[in-house]
Amino acid sequence: MNHQVNMNHQDWLAQADIYALGALDGDELIAFEAHLAAGCPECEQHLYKTREALTFLPQALEPVTPPPTVKARLLAQITAEAAIQQPVTRLPRRWWWWIGVSALAAAGLLVALSFKLYQTQQEVQRLQRLVASQQTTITEREEALQAERHELQRATEMVATLRAELAKREATLEAEQRERERVERVVATLQGELGERDAALRLLSAPQVNLVRLAGLSPSPRANAHLLWNPAAQAGVLLTSGLPQVPRDRVYELWAFVGKEPVPAGIFQVDEAGHGFLRLPPLPRAKRYDRFAVTSEPAGGVPKPTGPVHLLGSL
Protein backbone atom coordinates (compact mmCIF):
# COMPACT_ATOMS: atom_id res chain seq x y z
CA MET A 1 0.00 0.00 0.00
CA ASN A 2 1.63 3.24 -1.07
CA HIS A 3 1.58 6.65 0.53
CA GLN A 4 -1.01 8.04 -1.85
CA VAL A 5 -3.50 5.30 -0.98
CA ASN A 6 -2.81 5.72 2.73
CA MET A 7 -3.53 9.37 2.53
CA ASN A 8 -6.89 8.75 0.82
CA HIS A 9 -7.83 5.53 2.46
CA GLN A 10 -10.78 6.87 4.37
CA ASP A 11 -12.20 7.82 0.99
CA TRP A 12 -11.71 4.28 -0.31
CA LEU A 13 -13.52 2.87 2.72
CA ALA A 14 -16.39 5.27 2.07
CA GLN A 15 -16.51 3.98 -1.53
CA ALA A 16 -16.43 0.39 -0.20
CA ASP A 17 -19.70 1.08 1.64
CA ILE A 18 -21.48 2.10 -1.54
CA TYR A 19 -19.79 -0.73 -3.47
CA ALA A 20 -21.10 -3.26 -0.93
CA LEU A 21 -24.60 -1.86 -1.46
CA GLY A 22 -24.15 -2.42 -5.20
CA ALA A 23 -24.77 1.27 -5.77
CA LEU A 24 -21.35 2.45 -6.96
CA ASP A 25 -21.33 3.36 -10.66
CA GLY A 26 -19.42 5.09 -13.45
CA ASP A 27 -15.77 6.07 -13.04
CA GLU A 28 -15.97 5.63 -9.26
CA LEU A 29 -16.83 1.96 -9.74
CA ILE A 30 -13.96 1.45 -12.20
CA ALA A 31 -11.51 3.21 -9.84
CA PHE A 32 -12.62 1.24 -6.80
CA GLU A 33 -12.46 -2.11 -8.58
CA ALA A 34 -8.95 -1.23 -9.73
CA HIS A 35 -8.04 -0.39 -6.14
CA LEU A 36 -9.40 -3.76 -4.97
CA ALA A 37 -7.68 -5.61 -7.79
CA ALA A 38 -4.38 -4.00 -6.79
CA GLY A 39 -4.87 -5.68 -3.40
CA CYS A 40 -6.19 -3.90 -0.32
CA PRO A 41 -6.87 -6.24 2.65
CA GLU A 42 -8.28 -3.34 4.67
CA CYS A 43 -10.96 -2.57 2.07
CA GLU A 44 -11.71 -6.30 1.69
CA GLN A 45 -12.30 -6.70 5.40
CA HIS A 46 -14.46 -3.58 5.37
CA LEU A 47 -16.51 -5.09 2.53
CA TYR A 48 -17.01 -8.38 4.38
CA LYS A 49 -18.11 -6.53 7.48
CA THR A 50 -20.49 -4.30 5.53
CA ARG A 51 -22.02 -7.29 3.72
CA GLU A 52 -22.51 -8.91 7.07
CA ALA A 53 -24.30 -5.80 8.32
CA LEU A 54 -26.42 -5.67 5.16
CA THR A 55 -27.89 -9.09 5.97
CA PHE A 56 -29.92 -7.27 8.59
CA LEU A 57 -32.00 -5.68 5.87
CA PRO A 58 -33.53 -8.94 4.55
CA GLN A 59 -33.61 -10.38 8.08
CA ALA A 60 -35.76 -7.45 9.16
CA LEU A 61 -38.38 -8.26 6.50
CA GLU A 62 -41.61 -9.95 7.56
CA PRO A 63 -40.72 -13.63 6.98
CA VAL A 64 -42.62 -15.61 4.33
CA THR A 65 -42.58 -19.41 4.37
CA PRO A 66 -41.83 -21.04 1.01
CA PRO A 67 -44.13 -23.83 -0.23
CA PRO A 68 -42.96 -27.37 0.66
CA THR A 69 -42.86 -28.35 -3.03
CA VAL A 70 -39.59 -26.42 -3.42
CA LYS A 71 -37.87 -28.55 -0.83
CA ALA A 72 -39.35 -31.71 -2.34
CA ARG A 73 -38.01 -30.76 -5.76
CA LEU A 74 -34.60 -29.88 -4.33
CA LEU A 75 -34.33 -33.12 -2.41
CA ALA A 76 -35.38 -35.10 -5.47
CA GLN A 77 -32.69 -33.38 -7.45
CA ILE A 78 -29.86 -33.77 -4.94
CA THR A 79 -30.87 -37.38 -4.29
CA ALA A 80 -30.52 -38.04 -8.00
CA GLU A 81 -27.17 -36.23 -8.06
CA ALA A 82 -25.94 -38.03 -4.93
CA ALA A 83 -26.89 -41.41 -6.43
CA ILE A 84 -24.61 -40.63 -9.36
CA GLN A 85 -21.78 -38.80 -7.60
CA GLN A 86 -21.39 -40.14 -4.10
CA PRO A 87 -19.06 -43.05 -3.45
CA VAL A 88 -20.72 -46.36 -2.54
CA THR A 89 -19.00 -46.46 0.86
CA ARG A 90 -21.10 -43.51 2.06
CA LEU A 91 -24.36 -45.22 1.38
CA PRO A 92 -24.62 -47.78 4.17
CA ARG A 93 -24.15 -45.14 6.89
CA ARG A 94 -26.91 -42.91 5.55
CA TRP A 95 -29.23 -45.41 3.85
CA TRP A 96 -32.13 -44.69 6.17
CA TRP A 97 -31.87 -40.98 5.54
CA TRP A 98 -31.77 -41.36 1.77
CA ILE A 99 -34.75 -43.69 1.81
CA GLY A 100 -36.73 -41.12 3.85
CA VAL A 101 -35.62 -38.30 1.62
CA SER A 102 -36.34 -40.34 -1.49
CA ALA A 103 -39.86 -41.13 -0.30
CA LEU A 104 -40.48 -37.48 0.54
CA ALA A 105 -38.99 -36.40 -2.74
CA ALA A 106 -41.04 -39.02 -4.62
CA ALA A 107 -44.24 -37.81 -2.95
CA GLY A 108 -43.40 -34.22 -3.78
CA LEU A 109 -42.48 -35.19 -7.29
CA LEU A 110 -45.73 -37.10 -7.68
CA VAL A 111 -47.73 -34.01 -6.72
CA ALA A 112 -45.64 -31.83 -8.97
CA LEU A 113 -45.82 -34.35 -11.82
CA SER A 114 -49.60 -34.80 -11.46
CA PHE A 115 -50.11 -31.09 -11.73
CA LYS A 116 -47.64 -30.93 -14.62
CA LEU A 117 -49.49 -33.82 -16.30
CA TYR A 118 -52.79 -32.00 -15.93
CA GLN A 119 -51.21 -28.84 -17.37
CA THR A 120 -49.68 -30.85 -20.19
CA GLN A 121 -53.02 -32.51 -20.97
CA GLN A 122 -54.71 -29.11 -21.06
CA GLU A 123 -51.97 -27.84 -23.35
CA VAL A 124 -52.22 -30.94 -25.59
CA GLN A 125 -56.00 -30.46 -25.88
CA ARG A 126 -55.53 -26.78 -26.69
CA LEU A 127 -52.92 -27.66 -29.33
CA GLN A 128 -55.17 -30.40 -30.75
CA ARG A 129 -58.01 -27.90 -31.15
CA LEU A 130 -55.58 -25.48 -32.76
CA VAL A 131 -54.29 -28.16 -35.12
CA ALA A 132 -57.86 -29.19 -36.03
CA SER A 133 -58.84 -25.61 -36.84
CA GLN A 134 -55.64 -25.12 -38.84
CA GLN A 135 -56.33 -28.35 -40.73
CA THR A 136 -59.84 -27.15 -41.62
CA THR A 137 -58.40 -23.90 -42.90
CA ILE A 138 -55.75 -25.78 -44.87
CA THR A 139 -58.38 -28.08 -46.39
CA GLU A 140 -60.52 -25.11 -47.41
CA ARG A 141 -57.56 -23.38 -48.98
CA GLU A 142 -56.55 -26.55 -50.80
CA GLU A 143 -60.06 -26.87 -52.22
CA ALA A 144 -60.05 -23.25 -53.34
CA LEU A 145 -56.62 -23.76 -54.86
CA GLN A 146 -57.80 -26.92 -56.63
CA ALA A 147 -60.77 -25.06 -58.12
CA GLU A 148 -58.48 -22.29 -59.30
CA ARG A 149 -56.15 -24.86 -60.82
CA HIS A 150 -59.05 -26.43 -62.76
CA GLU A 151 -60.13 -23.02 -63.99
CA LEU A 152 -56.58 -22.21 -65.04
CA GLN A 153 -56.25 -25.55 -66.82
CA ARG A 154 -59.52 -24.98 -68.66
CA ALA A 155 -58.42 -21.48 -69.70
CA THR A 156 -55.03 -22.84 -70.83
CA GLU A 157 -56.73 -25.52 -72.91
CA MET A 158 -59.00 -22.95 -74.48
CA VAL A 159 -56.04 -20.75 -75.37
CA ALA A 160 -54.26 -23.75 -76.90
CA THR A 161 -57.36 -24.61 -78.96
CA LEU A 162 -57.70 -21.04 -80.17
CA ARG A 163 -54.01 -20.93 -81.07
CA ALA A 164 -54.30 -24.16 -83.06
CA GLU A 165 -57.39 -22.82 -84.82
CA LEU A 166 -55.59 -19.57 -85.61
CA ALA A 167 -52.57 -21.45 -86.97
CA LYS A 168 -54.85 -23.59 -89.11
CA ARG A 169 -56.60 -20.53 -90.49
CA GLU A 170 -53.32 -18.82 -91.17
CA ALA A 171 -52.11 -21.91 -93.03
CA THR A 172 -55.36 -22.02 -95.01
CA LEU A 173 -55.07 -18.33 -95.83
CA GLU A 174 -51.49 -18.81 -96.97
CA ALA A 175 -52.46 -21.79 -99.12
CA GLU A 176 -55.32 -19.79 -100.56
CA GLN A 177 -53.00 -16.90 -101.33
CA ARG A 178 -50.56 -19.26 -103.06
CA GLU A 179 -53.40 -20.81 -105.04
CA ARG A 180 -54.65 -17.35 -106.02
CA GLU A 181 -51.19 -16.31 -107.17
CA ARG A 182 -50.88 -19.55 -109.16
CA VAL A 183 -54.28 -19.00 -110.72
CA GLU A 184 -53.33 -15.40 -111.53
CA ARG A 185 -50.16 -16.62 -113.22
CA VAL A 186 -52.15 -19.21 -115.18
CA VAL A 187 -54.69 -16.55 -116.15
CA ALA A 188 -51.87 -14.24 -117.25
CA THR A 189 -50.30 -17.04 -119.27
CA LEU A 190 -53.64 -17.96 -120.81
CA GLN A 191 -54.38 -14.30 -121.56
CA GLY A 192 -50.99 -14.06 -123.26
CA GLU A 193 -51.63 -17.20 -125.23
CA LEU A 194 -55.12 -16.00 -126.04
CA GLY A 195 -53.64 -12.74 -127.40
CA GLU A 196 -51.24 -14.70 -129.55
CA ARG A 197 -54.03 -16.90 -130.81
CA ASP A 198 -56.24 -13.87 -131.51
CA ALA A 199 -53.43 -12.34 -133.54
CA ALA A 200 -52.93 -15.66 -135.32
CA LEU A 201 -56.66 -15.89 -135.98
CA ARG A 202 -56.79 -12.38 -137.43
CA LEU A 203 -53.79 -13.18 -139.62
CA LEU A 204 -55.36 -16.43 -140.68
CA SER A 205 -58.67 -14.80 -141.54
CA ALA A 206 -57.03 -12.24 -143.91
CA PRO A 207 -57.82 -13.06 -147.61
CA GLN A 208 -54.21 -12.85 -148.94
CA VAL A 209 -52.67 -15.25 -146.37
CA ASN A 210 -50.48 -18.05 -147.75
CA LEU A 211 -49.97 -21.41 -146.10
CA VAL A 212 -46.39 -22.63 -146.34
CA ARG A 213 -45.61 -26.23 -145.39
CA LEU A 214 -42.18 -26.97 -143.95
CA ALA A 215 -40.91 -30.57 -144.06
CA GLY A 216 -38.56 -32.28 -141.62
CA LEU A 217 -34.96 -32.81 -142.78
CA SER A 218 -32.36 -35.39 -141.68
CA PRO A 219 -31.94 -34.26 -137.99
CA SER A 220 -35.74 -34.37 -137.48
CA PRO A 221 -37.25 -36.30 -140.40
CA ARG A 222 -40.64 -36.73 -138.73
CA ALA A 223 -41.07 -33.07 -137.87
CA ASN A 224 -43.23 -30.68 -139.86
CA ALA A 225 -44.56 -27.15 -139.64
CA HIS A 226 -47.11 -24.76 -141.09
CA LEU A 227 -46.35 -21.09 -141.69
CA LEU A 228 -49.26 -18.71 -142.16
CA TRP A 229 -47.66 -15.91 -144.10
CA ASN A 230 -49.24 -12.57 -145.04
CA PRO A 231 -46.99 -11.07 -147.72
CA ALA A 232 -48.82 -7.74 -147.69
CA ALA A 233 -48.35 -7.26 -143.95
CA GLN A 234 -44.93 -8.96 -143.94
CA ALA A 235 -46.13 -10.92 -140.89
CA GLY A 236 -46.85 -14.49 -140.04
CA VAL A 237 -47.27 -17.30 -137.51
CA LEU A 238 -45.33 -20.59 -137.37
CA LEU A 239 -46.76 -23.78 -135.85
CA THR A 240 -44.44 -26.78 -135.52
CA SER A 241 -44.78 -30.39 -134.43
CA GLY A 242 -42.45 -33.34 -134.04
CA LEU A 243 -39.32 -31.28 -133.28
CA PRO A 244 -37.12 -32.63 -130.45
CA GLN A 245 -36.56 -30.36 -127.45
CA VAL A 246 -33.19 -28.59 -127.52
CA PRO A 247 -30.86 -28.08 -124.50
CA ARG A 248 -31.24 -24.90 -122.43
CA ASP A 249 -28.33 -23.19 -124.14
CA ARG A 250 -29.86 -23.63 -127.62
CA VAL A 251 -32.99 -22.42 -129.47
CA TYR A 252 -34.71 -22.98 -132.80
CA GLU A 253 -34.41 -20.05 -135.21
CA LEU A 254 -36.64 -19.35 -138.26
CA TRP A 255 -35.08 -17.92 -141.37
CA ALA A 256 -36.86 -16.13 -144.28
CA PHE A 257 -34.95 -16.27 -147.57
CA VAL A 258 -34.76 -13.53 -150.20
CA GLY A 259 -33.23 -15.64 -152.97
CA LYS A 260 -30.30 -17.30 -151.20
CA GLU A 261 -30.02 -14.52 -148.53
CA PRO A 262 -31.35 -15.67 -145.06
CA VAL A 263 -33.04 -13.06 -142.82
CA PRO A 264 -33.54 -13.93 -139.09
CA ALA A 265 -37.29 -14.26 -138.42
CA GLY A 266 -37.52 -15.10 -134.71
CA ILE A 267 -36.51 -17.75 -132.20
CA PHE A 268 -38.66 -20.31 -130.34
CA GLN A 269 -38.63 -23.44 -128.25
CA VAL A 270 -40.86 -26.50 -128.29
CA ASP A 271 -42.80 -28.13 -125.49
CA GLU A 272 -42.55 -31.71 -124.26
CA ALA A 273 -45.00 -32.85 -126.97
CA GLY A 274 -42.77 -31.29 -129.66
CA HIS A 275 -45.14 -28.41 -130.43
CA GLY A 276 -43.73 -24.97 -131.16
CA PHE A 277 -45.36 -21.62 -131.80
CA LEU A 278 -43.81 -18.41 -133.11
CA ARG A 279 -45.34 -15.13 -134.07
CA LEU A 280 -42.90 -13.63 -136.54
CA PRO A 281 -41.39 -10.23 -135.70
CA PRO A 282 -41.65 -7.46 -138.35
CA LEU A 283 -39.28 -8.31 -141.21
CA PRO A 284 -37.49 -5.80 -143.51
CA ARG A 285 -40.06 -4.59 -146.08
CA ALA A 286 -39.94 -4.38 -149.90
CA LYS A 287 -38.42 -7.82 -150.21
CA ARG A 288 -40.01 -10.95 -151.49
CA TYR A 289 -39.55 -13.86 -149.15
CA ASP A 290 -40.12 -17.16 -150.90
CA ARG A 291 -38.42 -19.84 -148.77
CA PHE A 292 -38.35 -20.53 -145.02
CA ALA A 293 -36.11 -22.77 -142.85
CA VAL A 294 -35.66 -23.64 -139.15
CA THR A 295 -32.18 -24.33 -137.69
CA SER A 296 -31.00 -24.99 -134.16
CA GLU A 297 -28.75 -22.20 -132.86
CA PRO A 298 -27.08 -20.91 -129.67
CA ALA A 299 -29.44 -19.33 -127.12
CA GLY A 300 -30.51 -15.81 -128.11
CA GLY A 301 -30.19 -16.52 -131.81
CA VAL A 302 -27.59 -15.49 -134.36
CA PRO A 303 -27.64 -13.11 -137.40
CA LYS A 304 -26.65 -15.90 -139.90
CA PRO A 305 -27.53 -19.59 -139.60
CA THR A 306 -24.77 -21.87 -138.19
CA GLY A 307 -26.52 -25.02 -137.03
CA PRO A 308 -28.22 -27.92 -138.80
CA VAL A 309 -31.46 -27.30 -140.76
CA HIS A 310 -34.45 -29.13 -139.21
CA LEU A 311 -37.30 -27.80 -141.37
CA LEU A 312 -37.47 -26.36 -144.87
CA GLY A 313 -40.37 -25.11 -147.10
CA SER A 314 -41.22 -22.80 -150.01
CA LEU A 315 -44.10 -20.59 -151.16
Partner: protein
Amino acid sequence: MAANLLDNPIALLQQIVSGDGEAFSRFYDRYASLVFTFALRLLGSRADAEDLLQEVFLRVWRQAQSYNPERGSPEAWLITMTRSRAIDRVRSIRSRDLSPLSPDEPARLEGGTQVAPPTQALEAKLTVQGALTKLPEAQRTVLELAYFDGLTQSEIAARLREPLGTVKTRMRTGLERLRGFLGA
Protein backbone atom coordinates in the same frame (compact mmCIF):
# COMPACT_ATOMS: atom_id res chain seq x y z
CA MET B 1 -24.28 -29.04 23.13
CA ALA B 2 -24.67 -31.81 20.55
CA ALA B 3 -27.87 -30.21 19.28
CA ASN B 4 -26.08 -26.87 19.07
CA LEU B 5 -23.29 -28.46 17.13
CA LEU B 6 -25.80 -30.07 14.72
CA ASP B 7 -27.46 -26.73 14.17
CA ASN B 8 -24.23 -24.77 13.67
CA PRO B 9 -24.56 -23.55 10.07
CA ILE B 10 -20.82 -23.66 9.39
CA ALA B 11 -20.70 -27.28 10.60
CA LEU B 12 -23.73 -28.06 8.41
CA LEU B 13 -21.99 -26.57 5.38
CA GLN B 14 -18.92 -28.72 6.07
CA GLN B 15 -21.17 -31.80 6.16
CA ILE B 16 -22.88 -30.73 2.95
CA VAL B 17 -19.44 -30.54 1.29
CA SER B 18 -19.04 -34.25 2.09
CA GLY B 19 -22.44 -35.04 0.49
CA ASP B 20 -24.60 -35.18 3.62
CA GLY B 21 -28.19 -34.86 2.48
CA GLU B 22 -29.51 -34.67 6.02
CA ALA B 23 -27.26 -31.70 6.77
CA PHE B 24 -28.51 -30.07 3.60
CA SER B 25 -32.11 -30.65 4.70
CA ARG B 26 -31.40 -28.95 8.06
CA PHE B 27 -29.54 -26.08 6.43
CA TYR B 28 -32.50 -25.58 4.09
CA ASP B 29 -34.99 -25.61 6.96
CA ARG B 30 -32.95 -23.00 8.73
CA TYR B 31 -32.49 -20.53 5.85
CA ALA B 32 -35.19 -21.24 3.26
CA SER B 33 -37.58 -18.70 4.73
CA LEU B 34 -34.90 -15.97 4.84
CA VAL B 35 -33.85 -16.60 1.25
CA PHE B 36 -37.45 -16.88 0.03
CA THR B 37 -38.51 -13.68 1.84
CA PHE B 38 -35.56 -11.80 0.39
CA ALA B 39 -36.15 -13.27 -3.10
CA LEU B 40 -39.79 -12.27 -2.95
CA ARG B 41 -38.83 -8.71 -1.97
CA LEU B 42 -36.26 -8.53 -4.80
CA LEU B 43 -38.33 -10.12 -7.59
CA GLY B 44 -41.89 -9.33 -6.53
CA SER B 45 -43.25 -12.62 -7.91
CA ARG B 46 -43.89 -15.81 -5.92
CA ALA B 47 -43.11 -18.06 -8.89
CA ASP B 48 -39.82 -16.25 -9.56
CA ALA B 49 -38.96 -16.31 -5.86
CA GLU B 50 -39.57 -20.09 -5.71
CA ASP B 51 -37.32 -20.59 -8.72
CA LEU B 52 -34.62 -18.44 -7.16
CA LEU B 53 -34.91 -20.27 -3.82
CA GLN B 54 -34.36 -23.56 -5.61
CA GLU B 55 -31.46 -22.16 -7.62
CA VAL B 56 -29.68 -20.76 -4.54
CA PHE B 57 -29.96 -23.98 -2.57
CA LEU B 58 -28.82 -26.08 -5.51
CA ARG B 59 -25.73 -23.89 -5.51
CA VAL B 60 -25.36 -24.50 -1.77
CA TRP B 61 -25.45 -28.24 -2.43
CA ARG B 62 -23.04 -28.12 -5.35
CA GLN B 63 -20.69 -25.35 -4.20
CA ALA B 64 -20.68 -25.54 -0.43
CA GLN B 65 -16.91 -25.85 -0.58
CA SER B 66 -16.70 -22.29 -1.95
CA TYR B 67 -17.97 -20.91 1.38
CA ASN B 68 -15.10 -19.34 3.33
CA PRO B 69 -15.85 -18.53 7.01
CA GLU B 70 -13.13 -15.86 6.96
CA ARG B 71 -15.16 -13.78 4.54
CA GLY B 72 -18.40 -13.77 6.48
CA SER B 73 -21.25 -15.75 7.98
CA PRO B 74 -23.27 -18.36 6.06
CA GLU B 75 -26.13 -15.82 6.14
CA ALA B 76 -23.98 -13.20 4.40
CA TRP B 77 -22.86 -15.81 1.87
CA LEU B 78 -26.48 -16.86 1.15
CA ILE B 79 -27.82 -13.30 1.10
CA THR B 80 -25.08 -12.06 -1.22
CA MET B 81 -25.63 -15.04 -3.52
CA THR B 82 -29.40 -14.54 -3.52
CA ARG B 83 -29.10 -10.86 -4.35
CA SER B 84 -26.55 -11.47 -7.08
CA ARG B 85 -28.71 -14.19 -8.75
CA ALA B 86 -31.82 -12.00 -8.42
CA ILE B 87 -30.11 -9.02 -10.05
CA ASP B 88 -28.97 -11.29 -12.90
CA ARG B 89 -32.57 -12.40 -13.42
CA VAL B 90 -33.93 -8.86 -13.29
CA ARG B 91 -31.28 -7.72 -15.75
CA SER B 92 -32.07 -10.49 -18.15
CA ILE B 93 -35.75 -9.57 -18.23
CA ARG B 94 -35.46 -5.78 -17.94
CA SER B 95 -34.28 -3.64 -20.82
CA ARG B 96 -33.20 -0.97 -18.35
CA ASP B 97 -29.53 -1.32 -17.61
CA LEU B 98 -28.94 -1.58 -13.93
CA SER B 99 -25.67 -0.48 -12.46
CA PRO B 100 -23.13 -3.21 -11.83
CA LEU B 101 -23.52 -4.74 -8.42
CA SER B 102 -20.71 -5.98 -6.33
CA PRO B 103 -19.77 -9.52 -7.30
CA ASP B 104 -20.22 -12.47 -4.96
CA GLU B 105 -16.54 -12.45 -4.19
CA PRO B 106 -14.16 -9.62 -5.01
CA ALA B 107 -11.02 -10.59 -6.86
CA ARG B 108 -7.94 -11.82 -4.99
CA LEU B 109 -9.31 -12.54 -1.58
CA GLU B 110 -6.50 -13.61 0.63
CA GLY B 111 -5.92 -13.58 4.32
CA GLY B 112 -7.86 -11.23 6.50
CA THR B 113 -9.33 -11.70 9.92
CA GLN B 114 -12.48 -13.61 10.59
CA VAL B 115 -15.66 -11.57 10.48
CA ALA B 116 -17.77 -12.03 13.52
CA PRO B 117 -21.08 -13.71 12.57
CA PRO B 118 -24.24 -12.32 14.13
CA THR B 119 -24.66 -13.85 17.53
CA GLN B 120 -27.93 -15.53 18.26
CA ALA B 121 -29.93 -15.00 15.05
CA LEU B 122 -33.27 -14.48 16.77
CA GLU B 123 -31.93 -11.89 19.16
CA ALA B 124 -30.12 -10.18 16.37
CA LYS B 125 -33.30 -10.05 14.31
CA LEU B 126 -35.27 -8.54 17.13
CA THR B 127 -32.52 -6.04 17.74
CA VAL B 128 -32.26 -5.22 14.07
CA GLN B 129 -35.97 -4.82 13.56
CA GLY B 130 -36.11 -2.51 16.51
CA ALA B 131 -33.08 -0.58 15.39
CA LEU B 132 -34.18 -0.34 11.78
CA THR B 133 -37.45 1.21 12.81
CA LYS B 134 -35.37 3.88 14.47
CA LEU B 135 -33.30 4.44 11.38
CA PRO B 136 -34.24 7.82 9.86
CA GLU B 137 -36.62 7.38 6.91
CA ALA B 138 -34.22 9.12 4.51
CA GLN B 139 -31.35 6.72 5.32
CA ARG B 140 -33.57 3.70 5.21
CA THR B 141 -34.97 4.71 1.81
CA VAL B 142 -31.57 5.05 0.11
CA LEU B 143 -30.42 1.71 1.55
CA GLU B 144 -33.57 -0.05 0.34
CA LEU B 145 -33.50 1.53 -3.12
CA ALA B 146 -29.93 0.32 -3.56
CA TYR B 147 -30.13 -3.04 -1.87
CA PHE B 148 -33.64 -4.19 -2.72
CA ASP B 149 -34.35 -2.35 -5.96
CA GLY B 150 -30.86 -2.53 -7.47
CA LEU B 151 -30.53 1.21 -8.18
CA THR B 152 -27.10 2.88 -8.32
CA GLN B 153 -26.20 6.03 -6.42
CA SER B 154 -26.78 8.19 -9.54
CA GLU B 155 -30.15 6.58 -10.23
CA ILE B 156 -31.20 7.09 -6.62
CA ALA B 157 -30.10 10.75 -6.72
CA ALA B 158 -32.11 11.22 -9.92
CA ARG B 159 -35.17 9.48 -8.52
CA LEU B 160 -35.13 11.37 -5.22
CA ARG B 161 -33.99 14.63 -6.88
CA GLU B 162 -31.26 14.97 -4.31
CA PRO B 163 -27.59 15.83 -4.85
CA LEU B 164 -25.33 12.78 -5.30
CA GLY B 165 -23.29 13.79 -2.27
CA THR B 166 -26.38 13.77 -0.07
CA VAL B 167 -27.30 10.28 -1.24
CA LYS B 168 -23.76 9.02 -0.57
CA THR B 169 -23.78 10.51 2.91
CA ARG B 170 -27.13 8.96 3.77
CA MET B 171 -25.93 5.56 2.55
CA ARG B 172 -22.76 5.72 4.61
CA THR B 173 -24.54 6.90 7.73
CA GLY B 174 -27.16 4.17 7.40
CA LEU B 175 -24.50 1.51 6.90
CA GLU B 176 -22.57 2.84 9.86
CA ARG B 177 -25.63 2.18 12.00
CA LEU B 178 -26.15 -1.30 10.56
CA ARG B 179 -22.52 -2.18 11.27
CA GLY B 180 -23.10 -1.02 14.82
CA PHE B 181 -25.63 -3.88 15.26
CA LEU B 182 -22.95 -6.47 14.51
CA GLY B 183 -21.63 -8.33 17.51
CA ALA B 184 -18.49 -6.64 18.65
